[in-house]
Symmetry: C2
Subunit: 109 residues, 2 copies
């Protein structure tokens, strides 16, 4: 993946995944595919699983293990109250940064 994108995703990917989960619960493999559909073609599977473990340990999601028709059991993640709070803060931070950057981009040159 482009190195710039890699670095830019840091701190944002977590919010992106939480936003996806706020739409509806999902499991790791599904989230990966949705990201690919969104255009994030090169996000590694391992990255998503590691991230999911992190947000689970932070207590932002609830987890339910459900059987799958075509493979090992799925770990379905859903955003809980704390996760919703966290996501709200994420958007606040994001908007702040996006505002500043838009200003810079327009003012620039």
């Amino acid at each position: 993946m482009a190195k710039q994108m890699t670095e830019m995703l840091k701190g944002n990917l977590e919010g992106i995944v939480l936003a996806i989960l706020s739409d509806r619960p999902a499991y790791g493999y599904e989230i990966t595919s949705r990201l690919r559909e969104m255009g994030f073609a090169d996000i590694a599977e391992g990255t998503i699983y590691a991230l999911l473990i992190r947000i689970e340990q932070k207590g932002l999601v609830d987890v339910v293990k459900t059987p799958s028709e075509k493979g090992p059991p799925r770990k379905v993640f859903s955003l809980n109250l704390q996760g919703q709070e966290y996501l709200k803060e994420f958007w606040t931070t994001w908007n702040f940064l996006a505002d500043r950057l838009q200003q810079l981009h327009q003012g620039g040159r």
Copy 2:
């Protein structure tokens, strides 16, 4: 600083500084103050100096040492051709990410 902001700045701060330099050349201490004026109140001075050394080593900026009226000599950084290219890529990457996130934010919940 808010932890979310810290992580979100990763990969963006470099672009922000390059964008500032594309407006006009500047030295470290000046860049730090400008960032503070922009609202990035808690960006550490040391962070900026380290970042400037990085982009200098990457060859994105030219450096001229000039005497100061009120302190040690300043290292004035200016964006060179390669830096301009890099900044252009940065904006492309940023726009891609910002688009996706806006979609998520609007579609969300």
